[in-house]
Assembly symmetry: C2
Homo-oligomer: 580 residues x 2
């Protein structure tokens, strides 16, 4: 097919849009691929839609190849199923809710576990029907608080979501692994640079879960990876290496000291170095952060989190650890109501004496000695020993993860990087099948509760991710698998014979099955070259000055390399380059 | 591709669903093509989705072929543009409205004139950019009061909507004609039986408009067509043939008669035949129906509609005639406030004497004589002559259209039929470009207000229309262009060699590029045959009893014809039948 730029619904922009901060957003707008309709809501213009469809079809092909079956559910959904699982409420303000003309509550689907579960329950009843994997490529809605970065975090977006239904955990693992492999094939074919990180399951519930993150500076997800192995994980999912317990015998006794005005770790360390023998750092202190935690439907309960003083509590890690409970820092009124908690001087004894729960970082093992609060203004304990002077009520992953921390797999140390979530695979287990009582009759004639997996892949987001990872300072660059056109043929010569020759060349490329974008506009070569760089087709062919000498130029948009080829055989050379 | 029914996510149902009334709805559910998610909201299961995508791609191909460019707008839209055109209000309860987390009003797009207009205004600025035709295949939302008949009238549905932007009326006519031709090609390729009817423009505004109606008993649209020409029109759009005026000279004088208790046409005709010379019918009386009409933003104004007594006022025709004004019948309180209007005895003189507007059917021409109300209880005029005794304030198309009425094109008479709207093409003119001030710089350097067309085609509805028009008493029947599979290969022989042979045949058909549905289930031949009839692939191939004699059977689902062919060469025979 040949598309003439003189006809194409396209206007490229010289300037970055005012609301765009990240390169992919700027370039997709400037190159006329997308336009904003509302915050976080975009229109696809012709070039953008082509990339989007190419990504969609590539995803579809790999889903079909793994034996998944495509269906399509509505986006406008009734409230009932989401009430059954509690997600009508749990989603909070992220859910678009509306009423129909009869006053019925409805929602715009953010993800479709409920509906798929109901559907399978409606159709299937026997173990012989399983396993089954169903998927859809569908428009989703989430009322993000801060839609940002164009397509990277939108409120209306397209996902491939699939759901596996299996008889038991082993079969679920097979479905999960199939998805994992299919996602790898998809991202490899797209040429995305990505990592697979262990993830927490978030609001989805369930046990095992991994995220596919496109490595990208502008990403919102921080992850860590080992410098020496292929270990990678979401910061929330990093498990601290637990040191061995130390012998308690022979440790000096705990002593309560008057430490003066030392409500901060810095001031406490300063006091210790000035007063005690030896050299002390923040790592020798035990910091106690007061929070309150509430189970769904429960009451707030006060809890102290004890972490080595050289680390902050990472609230996202804390939240992930207590999920589905909520967690908040204690506020002034909480402290006012609990005078046993002396701000700046809180210690394990005061916390447990007041019958609050005391959870500690996994590094706070038996036999470790700490400088920590003595629960009186201006006083701290020195040599307070775990397992002798106090026993925590449990451990919790809440301390920050730092570059240089040992990698949990024992190989190398961690370094952090930024990523964009492009896929997420979950072993949901029976959360949804329990909610809807999805059983099938087992081989032994008894009902079996089905186990589920849920697998998401961002289709519209992928367009932005590719733009983000592959662009250069001149503009977009599309891999051939998803480029809107195989070849951008630029007429940069006003000579009638050259123009006719360019059209002939376009016809030959079209006949060879290539998608050709022909710049036949009455514009200067400079304007055309700039646009070809901005638009980013992988191969640019220029019918320009060389025409007089019987040559055309083939430019590789990725390498920047330009080759002169003879007009005779130019079509073959272009085809070879494209297919190469 | 080969799809095995043992794997396919499908359950066929023996019984009609309780909520289904029309054949297409019953069969699409029974055959496992669709499932209901909420009133008027459906999920597409694998087979249904294939038909839907096939229709979509056929429509897309024809749109591309006519030079339209595909884009994709969001379904979730801001309120502002729909306020600018008044449609935020005009759509009434048919519009799904919602608020986002920040309290902004949003809507689910029912149709996208506003957004396309804004988009073109944003990108284009010169006459050189026009004409342009843009289209999308997109999910639309309308909160129908009575969603019905499955996919035929849903609340979430998929349309191809396109919009043309032209410099002047002639160019708009070209864009309009292109669409008209493309729609004809699409419906012809699909094999739909349809008519093109003149239509009123409805809430879209604008001048010229035609509807494509699939001829179908279960349709909601009544249309009329000529028995002798290809004239067809929506009932609302039928223009009455106006008779010539008659000479007034020599007509007998009007006389007011005491007619007794004669508030109905029947009782009046009875009185006339009993009292006057000659034979009278309802057609000799002039019935005056009292309504009130309100312009948008205006006050209710009382109007009388005078129609020959043998015809009712057709309220839909009346509404179409006064649009965008609203119209209602006078109620008791209106009569109470206007004692000049004597119910059952209202006549032209009373109406005009009270200074109400008096509009008449086009047949009520000068020189016609009528028996009509004399505005006193129990009294009527006889021989009240138009143009002598009263002069109407205007004419209005409001009387019912009846089978046997002369066709407006002068050829034959009208007969009515039912249809389903499958396409609608409009010359919108400048309603939307005025609202958004969409101008381009003309060739002479002066701004030109762009003129628009709007063109809709129901993609999801088409699936139901095809089911409706093509099914038989046994089940669905799909034309090859959109069938989920080319061939349904039924294994109806338990012999291992036959089963192996069927799989080999499937492989050969697959290799020939056919889409094969292979019924490899452990079910009886009877169950399989019933399912193959219900599912409706155009060609069914049976590997059955004949296998022992070296034959397989090829059945044509449309004609019912069955042919035995030799196993050797069966694949070629099937391919030839499919492609034939």
């Amino acid at each position: 097919m040949i598309t003439r730029m003189s006809d194409l619904f396209l206007r490229t922009l010289r300037d970055d849009p005012a609301d765009a901060e990240v390169p992919s957003h700027k370039l997709l707008v400037r190159a006329g691929y997308i336009r904003r309709s509302a915050p976080g809501v975009y229109a696809w213009l012709p070039l953008g839609l082509k990339v989007f469809r190419n990504v969609e079809n590539l995803v579809r092909a790999e889903m079909d190849a793994m034996g998944a079956q495509e269906i399509l559910l509505p986006a406008l959904l009734p409230r009932d199923p989401y009430d059954a699982t509690g997600r009508w409420t749990e989603y909070g303000p992220n859910l678009f809710r509306l009423k129909d003309r009869k006053g019925n509550d409805m929602l715009l689907g953010p993800t479709h576990e409920e509906i798929f579960t109901q559907l399978v329950k409606g159709e299937y009843s026997s173990y012989k029907d399983l396993p089954v994997i169903l998927y859809q490529v569908q428009t989703k809605y989430r009322d993000e608080e801060r839609p940002r970065a164009g397509l990277l975090r939108g409120r209306e977006f397209v996902m491939k979501d699939s759901y596996s239904f299996d008889l038991d955990d082993d079969a679920l693992q097979v479905s999960y692994d199939k998805h994992r492999a299919a996602y790898q094939r998809i991202f490899d074919r797209l040429g995305v640079e990505y990592v697979i990180v262990k993830a927490t399951a978030g609001a989805m519930g369930g046990s095992r879960s991994e995220e596919f993150l496109a490595v990208c500076e502008v990403g919102e997800d921080t992850f860590v990876r080992s410098t020496e192995s292929d270990y990678a994980a979401n910061v929330e999912a990093v498990e601290t290496i637990v040191p061995d317990a130390l012998p308690i015998d022979g440790l000096p006794a705990a002593v309560s000291h008057e430490t003066g005005d030392t409500p901060t770790i810095d001031s406490l360390v300063e006091w210790a170095n000035a007063t005690l023998d030896g050299e002390y750092t923040a790592a020798d202190t035990l910091k106690n952060v007061m929070v309150k935690i509430r189970k769904p439907g429960g009451e707030w309960e006060i809890t102290a989190i004890g972490v080595p003083g050289d680390r902050e509590v990472d609230f996202k890690r804390l939240e992930a650890s207590v999920e589905p409970s909520e967690v908040e820092l204690l506020d002034e009124s909480d402290f006012a109501k609990n005078p046993a908690l002396v701000k700046g001087y809180i210690g394990p004894k005061g916390v447990q004496g007041a019958e609050f729960t005391y959870l500690v970082d996994p590094r706070v093992v038996d036999g470790t000695s700490w400088i920590t609060g003595a629960d009186e203004k201006g006083r701290h304990y020195v040599n307070l020993v775990v397992g002798r002077d106090f026993t925590p009520d449990g451990v919790i992953e809440a301390a920050q993860v730092r570059d240089g921390d040992p990698s949990p797999d024992g190989a190398g140390v961690l370094e952090s990087a930024k990523g964009i979530e492009i896929g997420h695979i979950f072993q949901l287990g029976r959360k949804y099948t329990d909610a809807f009582e999805l059983d099938v009759l087992g081989e032994n004639g008894k009902p079996v509760r089905v186990t589920m997996g849920s697998y998401g892949l961002g289709v519209s987001r992928m367009v932005a991710v590719l733009a983000e990872q592959m662009h250069d300072e001149k503009g977009l660059r599309w891999p051939r698998e998803v480029a809107p056109f195989d070849v951008h043929l630029v007429i940069a010569n006003k000579d009638d014979a050259a123009i006719a020759g360019a059209h002939q060349l376009a016809d030959l490329l079209d006949a060879a099955g290539l998608q050709v974008l022909l710049d036949d506009r009455k514009a200067s070569p400079g304007v055309k070259f700039k646009d070809s760089e901005l638009l980013g087709m992988p191969i640019v062919v220029v019918v320009g000055r060389g025409w007089a000498n019987g040559t055309v130029e083939i430019r590789d948009r990725f390498t920047g390399e330009a080759t002169e080829v003879a007009v005779d055989g130019a079509a073959d050379a272009v085809v070879a380059t494209v297919r190469g």
